[in-house]
Symmetry: C2
């Protein structure tokens, strides 16, 4: 099989995008179902080739965390299929009439959602991004160009080929889903220059990858930067709830973007609460680093440095700072946070509303675990990430966020006077 | 008076933005009214200083078109005031609940519109951008940093000072509206580096200005590139309507982004229609440039070169191409157009719907003049431009487009299991 160059792939995507924009909801949903069926029919091949790549990764001395992300076991495989089938059941993100009116002269105006066009997804090891991204892109009528990590190239290629076969059998264009098969960094660099054909790039991975891509291209990039998430425990917080929320936010899953990184405790309840928090975190093997004032309450924890306040640990480490009231908490979060997810624990409606209004983040949670910020609990279904941008998509990025709109006006010879 | 550096201005804006996000609709609308009142109270000073700058521009040998754009006469002044007063009457773009649900566990989730934060507007000669931009930004709760052309520096500064006074008298923060008072290019270059404080830049002016800014900053830019607008006359178009729409689209105003630049005529009606079009355009002193086939019908017009198809004339020149059916028309428009505004003249619902679906532009008009694409006829009120971007804002940019959203979730100790 000849390998298409990145430019050929990009041009093919542009054409496919034009055809996709004319597909019906039924056709796109059928394609998603067929993509899942097609994957299922080659399940053993996928698991086999993935096992080879996992072995190779181990031999190459990759970390256990990385090997885990790379692995598709039976459970992961079923999860991938179920996500594709579920996104098919979601409401159509296209052709929604977002606004409209008839002007005084009788011109009928509609603002309608339409696909963005061609979406490039550049990601690191996890092969489930291959199926998630393709699912969300096809749902929203976009052509997708996939580019995963080199350690998963065989797995991703097989996944993509199965999905392509499924999509084509449902009548979608041949190039609606494409994967870049050329190994090496040059292919990515070439993709970054394809601003004539690619409408948006979504890098998924570490901060370094995202930064490199955002700074190296003129194509708009939807960025998923880090989650330096905070929980502020106000003076009047229910203490049991506060401890449960802090523990769940930090410990339910450690290496994820909406996990807690810094806990802010109001000085008026710190004396009572900090020892309770300490023993709960100890039981969960979390290392605590505190500000000077925190250390007076918990003398045996290590000090937090200035750097700690702007660190996304993604590790069993938590920084704790005592603040003098909600204003200081808000100031700290808006200064050191990453605008991802921040929460408050309070029984006061006034404090809750002030926090909601003044925290400049994609997600603001009141008496809820930071781990609940995301497509599932927000009722959006499958998403491919959580954007820390303010323009276009903020927070969870699902099919709706992969649309733009056009203004359509129907007249009958209407002129401007 | 000390002149603040750009960095001081940017920092002040960031603080003002936080305060603005907590203002009420009533307060912002009152501020808009007071801004207009305050301008009115210094009307004569504004007209006087503007007259001096107009005189200077003439002495500097500026073109008549540029001098016209710079001039504030009584009519322009009244128009500026009326735009500010009208934007106050529009619905509040903030705190709209864009989506929401209660998850199965009882977590209440809302997606709410909020201000973008700090908006920098960089523009060329027209001083009415000063008031329009400030109006739309204050309406949407954003802090604004204004930077107009050097030839209008005195006028713009006076306009800004009057608006600041009005806004402050309504209780808005002192730095909600700021203008960069330092002359010279360096101030703009400095503004481009303020990504820590500025959320979005909107350059208004020629393609060169926009490109320079978009390529010189890491701040997201809402771009208003050129309008290479098309009208496609289908075989079955009503001929009188077709000629009226072509003339209105091209001639109602020549130097605007939604004016017609290329007319596509179906070959099946070209023989009958082209002579009618020619005499109508002749009567309006429009120079026609045609493809080879057009020239066989109109032998005395000049030929259109390849370059003509991608030129925004903004001048009394029109290129004409004969196409073989709607598919060729759509292909031409998607290839050579700028995605701004494109129209079709047809009596066929099928052709209208195919055109609507397949044209990849911000505005698609059916039997309506391209000059109708814009905030006014779309029911949006005052806008500060027409975006040719696909992400975030596409088409008219008004107060709604200067908002982002946040996800807010109210729980009662909700954890992730």
């Amino acid at each position: 099989m000849n390998i298409d160059t990145v430019e050929v792939i990009a041009k093919q995507s542009r054409l496919a995008a034009r055809q996709l924009s004319a597909t019906s909801e039924t056709q796109r949903n059928l394609a998603l179902a067929k993509m899942a069926d097609s994957l299922e029919s080659v399940k053993q091949q996928i698991l086999d080739i993935n096992a080879q790549e996992v072995l190779q990764a181990r031999q190459d001395g990759q970390t256990e965390a990385m090997v885990k992300r790379l692995t598709i076991d039976d459970k992961v495989f079923q999860y991938m299929l179920s996500r594709l089938r579920k996104v098919a059941l979601r409401p159509d993100p296209l052709n929604r009439v977002l606004a409209g009116h008839t002007n005084p002269a009788g011109l009928q105006v509609y603002k309608k959602s339409v696909p963005l066009g061609v979406i490039g997804i550049i990601y690191e090891s996890r092969p489930n991004v291959t199926t998630d991204a393709a699912g969300v892109c096809i749902k929203s009528g976009n052509a997708v160009i996939l580019r995963g990590g080199s350690e998963a190239l065989q797995t991703n290629t097989l996944l993509a080929d199965a999905m392509i076969q499924g999509a084509v059998s449902a009548g979608l264009p041949q190039h609606a889903i494409q994967i870049i098969r050329t190994p090496g960094h040059e292919a990515v660099s070439e993709l970054l220059t394809m601003d004539e054909y690619v409408d948006v790039l979504i890098p998924r991975g570490g901060k370094g990858l995202i930064k490199r891509i955002a700074e190296g291209t003129r194509i708009p990039v939807i960025k998923h930067y880090d989650g330096i998430c905070h929980l502020y425990i106000a003076e009047d917080a229910d203490q049991t709830q506060a401890v449960e929320l802090a523990i769940n936010s930090k410990c339910q899953s450690i290496q994820v973007c909406n996990a807690l990184e810094t806990l802010l405790v109001d000085e008026k309840c710190a004396g009572q609460l900090l020892p309770l928090l300490k023993s709960a975190f100890d039981a969960n093997h979390i290392e605590l680093r505190g500000c000077q004032q925190t250390q007076t309450h918990l003398p045996d924890i290590s000090p937090a440095s200035e750097e700690d306040w702007s660190t996304e640990y993604l590790a069993p480490i938590l920084s704790i700072k005592i603040v003098n009231g909600i204003d200081e908490a808000i100031e700290h979060i808006n200064h050191y946070g990453s605008g991802h997810t921040d929460g408050i624990v309070t029984q006061s409606l006034n404090l809750a509303q002030q926090f909601e209004r003044q925290i400049d983040s994609a997600s603001v949670l009141i008496n809820a675990s930071t781990r609940l910020s995301g497509g599932g609990d927000y009722g959006l279904g499958s998403v491919i990430g959580i954007s820390t941008d303010k323009l276009h998509a903020r927070g969870p990025v699902g099919p709706d966020e992969l649309t733009t709109y056009k203004w359509v006006a129907y007249g009958n010879g209407h002129l401007r006077s």
